[in-house]
């Protein structure tokens, strides 16, 4: 059954959209990430223009993170203060991202910048996660426990000026890295159509040393706030959010996420991180191959002034 998408101005199979939403939702529920980094490339590959794909996926991420935040709020594993700091800085980053997006589209370099960012971020993060997970698994096999974090042990980043106390996370750290992190994720989210959870989660764990139990709920809160703002901004400035497309993805996504979360809970933490790392890495590699390999079609056409 085909559904005509009014803003994308093309029909797409409804079940394909629901299926893509559900598959990505399943993975995102399993790993606790938004899944935008998978969904946006999938939509672009299906023929939807990058502009509409990036903007519409942001509305799907809102729905997904809203349902996630509610679940974590009930379990009381969200650091509201940290989430607020990250969201406010994320909104600033997002505003810059939406602007840069429009500027790059105008000069025809949007695609290559998106591809380069995907390679850089997905490649690095995927590699780090996979290596860390493999080391954890090996250490467990050998029976040697990994060094655990002791309270009060901070990296130099946390020791910068403007210290703030985050009670829920039991942290007393500088606000500067928190704001920088939130703003970068907001910027990348708007530019690349991703929630940024797969960057935020390891950054909170390894850089800011936020307790693992708090990380996912807080990340989801930041994603919700930043992506709600991004959806609004993309609608207001670029008018590229397709609400019908977004709705189809949302419905598939939230259902898939519920089943993914159940599978995720039955898997071991290291296994989960290894799988997510490999998934992220493979998407990054896919973009790298496309950048380096000689394209089958050297020419491309677009409307003047973007679109």
């Amino acid at each position: 059954m085909d559904l005509y998408l009014p803003i994308a101005e093309m029909p797409m199979n409804l079940f394909l959209l629901l299926g893509m939403g559900a598959a990505v939702g399943f993975l995102s529920g399993m790993f606790g990430v938004g899944g935008g980094f998978l969904l946006t490339p999938l939509l672009i590959f299906s023929g939807i223009s990058p502009a509409v794909a990036v903007a519409s996926v942001s509305s799907q991420i809102v729905a997904n993170s809203a349902s996630g935040v509610l679940a974590y709020l009930r379990k009381k594993t969200v650091d509201l203060k940290l989430g607020l700091y990250l969201t406010l800085s994320g909104i600033i980053g997002s505003a810059i991202g939406v602007w840069v997006y429009g500027a790059l589209r105008g000069i025809g370099q949007l695609d290559v910048v998106i591809a380069l960012c995907y390679v850089a971020f997905l490649g690095t993060i995927g590699m780090l996660m996979a290596v860390e997970a493999i080391r954890a698994i090996l250490a467990k096999r050998r029976g040697t426990p990994l060094p655990v974090r002791r309270p009060g042990q901070h990296s130099w980043i946390a020791g910068l000026p403007l210290r703030v106390r985050f009670h829920r996370s039991r942290l007393y750290i500088s606000a500067l890295p928190v704001i920088a992190l939130g703003a970068s994720i907001g910027f990348l989210g708007a530019l690349l159509g991703i929630g940024g959870g797969f960057i935020m989660v390891p950054a909170l764990i390894y850089l800011l040393r936020v307790p693992t139990t708090i990380v996912i709920g807080t990340t989801l809160l930041q994603t919700l706030g930043t992506m709600a703002f991004t959806t609004f901004m993309q609608s207001a400035t670029n008018q590229t959010v397709d609400v019908i497309l977004g709705l189809a993805l949302m419905v598939g996504g939230v259902v898939g996420a519920q089943f993914g979360a159940r599978v995720g809970q039955s898997l071991r933490g290291e296994t989960l991180r290894l799988l997510l790392g490999l998934l992220v890495l493979s998407v990054g590699l896919r973009f790298a191959v496309d950048l380096v390999a000689r394209p089958a079609e050297l020419y491309s056409i677009s409307r003047m002034g973007g679109g």
């Binding site: 085909d2 101005e9 809203a66 959806t231 008018q239 939230v254 259902v255 677009s302 003047m304 002034g305």
Partner: protein, 254 residues
């Protein structure tokens, strides 16, 4: 519509040096294609007759019909990728000011047999004669690599089509030309042009307008997105939060 077409055809007939040349009367199967939520492509049929009177000269050559359906004009940019520091990025580009976003051509016979290059160049008829810099000229247009890429890619996307032999004569005078509108057909105002040729000479030409517009619900959404973008954005965010909340409640297990 038909009256207007008749008038146009009559004017053309009187303006031409052959006082008693043929006139064309054409009609469209529909004047408005509406795109609803289940739209996956459509079609339009152009009907016409070649009107003759007693004084019309007998032709040695058969009548040939060319029908073009031209979509809204848009300014386009074609870009070429080049390898820079190991990666492929867009470098050189060429602009194509005001080119059709859709162009379907249907004919009774191969284009080269219908009319020569000079006649087609003057009318801008055929992909090879389509003007990419303003109006058609007496000489065939000079093509840059970007013009060529544009024409090739538009055909690849199914937006530029050429169907030689698709127009059929139902009787010696009556013809019909079916034209397919693909799912990705651009929205806007279209012009259907019918050319009558015989022996490589253009005898008559008619044009008719028709529109491809979004249906009620689709148009409402588009209007809202463009005229009240802030309201649209806010509504989308609320819908998204509500969907997420609903799913959270529906699947709650504790």
């Amino acid at each position: 519509m038909i009256v207007r077409a008749l008038l146009a055809a009559a004017t053309l007939a009187f303006a031409s040096p052959h006082l008693h040349a043929e006139t064309l009367v054409t009609a469209l199967s529909t004047e408005r294609v509406s795109i609803e939520s289940n739209f996956t492509g459509s079609g339009v049929v152009i009907f016409g007759t070649v009107e003759r009177d007693r004084q019309t000269v007998a032709r040695a050559d058969p009548y040939e019909i060319v029908v073009t359906l031209t979509g809204p004009l848009r300014s386009m940019v074609a870009r070429r990728k080049e390898r820079v520091a190991g990666i492929w990025i867009n470098r050189a580009s060429g602009e194509l000011p005001r080119v059709p976003s859709f162009l379907a051509i249907a004919t009774t016979a191969p284009m080269a047999d219908v009319a020569g290059n000079r006649v087609r160049a003057g009318q801008g008829l055929g992909f090879d004669m389509l003007p990419t810099r303003g109006l058609p000229d007496a000489l065939p247009p000079v093509r840059t690599e970007f013009d060529a890429a544009f024409l090739r890619l538009m055909q690849k996307e199914g937006l530029f089509t050429l169907n030689e032999g698709r127009v059929e004569f139902l009787s010696p005078q009556l013809f019909r030309a079916p034209i397919d509108l693909p799912a990705n057909v651009p929205i806007g105002w279209y012009t259907a042009t019918v050319y009558l040729f015989s022996g490589g000479v253009l005898l008559a030409k008619t044009t008719q307008d028709f529109s491809i517009l979004k249906g009620g619900f689709e148009q409402t959404i588009t209007d809202l997105a463009h005229r009240r973008p802030a309201v649209y954005g806010l509504a989308t965010v609320i819908v998204a939060c509500f969907t997420g909340w609903l799913a959270g409640v529906a699947f709650r297990r504790d």
